[in-house]
């Protein structure tokens, strides 16, 4: 019967107070685990999605909103920009590569993004089956989309107007799945990609319908979107498509040339580091557009979230501290009751250090079980949170293990030792003759 087993048995002999201690520790550790996992994942997602993009140009408004909508596909776009202005920027000597984006439709909440092959290059996309979109209304879908919506190459579906909701379905054209992307670990897993003319054409018909007086029940969300994709009179539209088939400087096969056309945003890669200083200022001052740096806005966003994370962190630390005190009080009180037990153990031949071990193991076992339970609960809770998250782009998962969790584990151990060391030293020092003669 080792000291460890005696400690273990002792914990089991008072299940209620042991359970309370374990719960307190598990709660504190659980919160810390969730914070650690979530902030790591959010940080990774922020970095992963914006790592190759130096600047986003879009309509005037909140720069954060522009980044959120065009890099992370979370918020609504700030508005549309004229294609003509975008073209000018694309030809700017500071710009190495520019990716046009046209948003405005969704399929079951998944954004349909009109873009060109620059997008493929920037995000280094590959297809696992099928091919990239080429003709109008052909789409290539992200790996998560394929899994979640059970779509495969050759499937067709109708897009709906707006970025969420499916009240206003574009029944005139069906999209056809041409290919599925390999998992990228970023937003592209949750997007449906097509060419820009598809998005335009979808909305040309939409406008036609509207002009024909069809009831148009758009909720408020859509109202904001409505203007994004507003295009010119539909009478010109056949003409545009002729133009679009001609080579253009953006990407001949896909992006239209018509000067009245609009897109949502431009993702830009700089040609040289010097552009960092010059280009955003030029965009903001010389044009009617807005330039926002993903790196800067992500940092700003993270620092905003950071306040909440910090608060929760301190809250969790406080709980851990209370747990430590609770374990301490528990051990200290039980030591008073058990001092006679411990003295008896000494008369049976137990050494001082064995008594020390019995008490310290009890503290460590309590906090260790609490810490492990807390880490497990934290993972499960985050997985649950992830499952209920609306935005699939920012979905968090609990099923990853981080190296940093070893620190949580170490902290749990440290708390156990901290809480148990005073009672253990008392057990070590106890004068057994005195204790035994008292009774």
């Amino acid at each position: 019967m080792s000291p460890l087993k005696i400690s273990w048995k002792s914990i089991w002999s008072k299940p209620l107070s042991s359970a309370l201690n374990i719960m307190l520790i598990a709660f504190g550790t659980g919160i810390l685990t969730i914070l650690l996992l979530a902030s790591t994942q959010i940080g990774e997602k922020l970095d992963n999605n914006s790592k190759d993009i130096d600047l986003v140009v879009g309509a005037k408004g909140s720069p954060l909103q522009l980044i959120l909508s065009s890099i992370y596909y979370i918020d609504f776009p700030t508005g549309n920009i004229p294609l003509k202005d975008a073209q000018e920027l694309i030809h700017n000597p500071f710009v190495k590569r520019a990716v046009p984006l046209a948003q405005g439709d969704n399929y079951k909440g998944i954004r349909i993004v009109g873009t060109d092959t620059n997008f493929v290059t920037v995000y280094k996309l590959k297809t696992s089956t099928g091919k990239f979109w080429s003709a109008d209304f052909e789409v290539t879908i992200g790996s998560n989309v394929a899994v979640n919506e059970k779509m495969k190459v050759g499937d067709t579906f109708y897009g709906a107007h707006g970025l969420t909701g499916s009240t206003d379905v574009h029944k005139t054209h069906a999209y056809k799945v041409a290919g599925i992307l390999t998992p990228q670990g970023n937003v592209t897993d949750n997007l449906i990609l097509t060419n820009i003319p598809s998005v335009w054409r979808m909305h040309d018909h939409h406008e036609k319908e509207e002009a024909a007086g069809h009831a148009h029940d758009e909720d408020k969300d859509h109202g904001e979107q409505k203007k994004h994709m507003e295009t010119e009179d539909s009478e010109n539209h056949e003409e545009h498509y002729d133009h679009q088939k001609e080579p253009s400087s953006v990407r001949p096969d896909q992006t239209g040339l018509n000067e009245d056309r609009e897109i949502t945003a431009l993702l830009i890669q700089y040609r040289s580091p010097m552009s960092v200083v010059m280009f955003p200022r030029m965009v903001n001052q010389m044009t009617n557009l807005q330039a926002a740096s993903p790196a800067m806005e992500s940092t700003r966003l993270f620092s905003l979230i950071g306040v909440g994370v910090d608060t929760l962190q301190w809250f969790a630390v406080l709980i851990m501290f209370i747990a430590a005190i609770s374990v301490f009080v528990n051990l200290y009180n039980s030591l008073k009751e058990r001092s006679y037990d411990l003295a008896i153990m000494r008369t049976l031949g137990a050494s001082r250090s064995q008594l020390f071990q019995i008490v310290i193991f009890e503290g460590i076992l309590l906090t260790l079980v609490g810490t492990l339970a807390g880490i497990a609960v934290g993972h499960l809770a985050l997985q649950l949170i992830g499952a209920y998250q609306e935005s699939s782009q920012a979905r968090l998962t609990g099923f990853i293990l981080l190296n940093d969790e070893i620190y949580l584990f170490a902290a749990g151990l440290a708390i156990g030792i901290f809480a148990a060391v005073i009672p253990a030293v008392q057990a070590y020092r106890a004068n057994i003759s005195k204790i035994l003669s008292k009774n």
């Binding site: 019967m1 005696i6 009774n439």
Partner: protein, 209 residues
């Protein structure tokens, strides 16, 4: 042989107790008599090696116990001295047989479940070996504490007021078991008591004044 030689203990300057020399042959059964406050508990603690006297020597089987290091003394106590207290103090979180196994392992002896069964059998409580102390009666508990004291076949068995909290019937039974067990395990026994019911069973008496 067990002996104390010119032992005295000083709790404070005013409070000093001296004890007469005492020699006990192996296998003897002694009664230690004394009123409360006469230093009975002090002497028992000195004999069991948990209270180092300020002067004098305690020899158990030719070992001067207070000359041993603290760790050695703990082990010596576990192997050679069995103690029965007035109240049967068992570890509540452990079953009866676990309490006995614990005594074996604290003495750094290998776990011997055969011996555990044998001792419990001889005390008539083998049926309770997987029960917890809270499920046993006072008389049964006192038997378990005797079992715990003799589990390691000690050279010296010390009982401190083993009968004072028991009724006549149980007191007689416990006394009988003590005498029987000290004989079975060939242990020298010292019973400290002021219980008149016990006195007649002993021929050797050491009286504290």
């Amino acid at each position: 042989m067990i002996a104390i030689q010119s032992v005295s203990h000083q709790y404070s300057e005013a409070n000093q107790i001296s004890f007469n020399d005492w020699q006990i042959s192996n296998g003897d059964q002694w009664l230690l008599l004394g009123e409360s406050g006469s230093g009975k508990t002090t002497l028992l603690h000195i004999l069991t090696g948990i209270l180092k006297p300020t002067a004098g020597e305690v020899l158990i089987n030719d070992t001067s116990v207070y000359a041993l290091s603290s760790r050695k003394l703990d082990q010596f106590r576990g192997r050679n001295i069995g103690i029965i207290f007035q109240r049967p103090h068992l570890i509540k979180s452990l079953t009866i047989s676990e309490n006995l196994v614990m005594a074996q392992s604290f003495a750094r002896l290998p776990t011997d479940l055969k011996r555990v069964n044998e001792v419990l059998e001889s005390l008539g409580i083998a049926a309770k070996k997987n029960a917890y102390p809270s499920e046993l009666s006072q008389g049964q508990l006192q038997r378990v504490s005797i079992a715990r004291a003799v589990i390691n076949k000690p050279a010296l068995l010390i009982a401190d007021e083993p009968t004072s909290s028991l009724d006549d019937k149980n007191a007689a039974a416990v006394l009988e078991l003590l005498l029987l067990q000290s004989g079975l395990n060939q242990a020298t026994m010292i019973v400290a008591t002021h219980d008149k019911r016990v006195k007649d069973a002993f021929t050797n008496t050491y009286e504290l004044r």
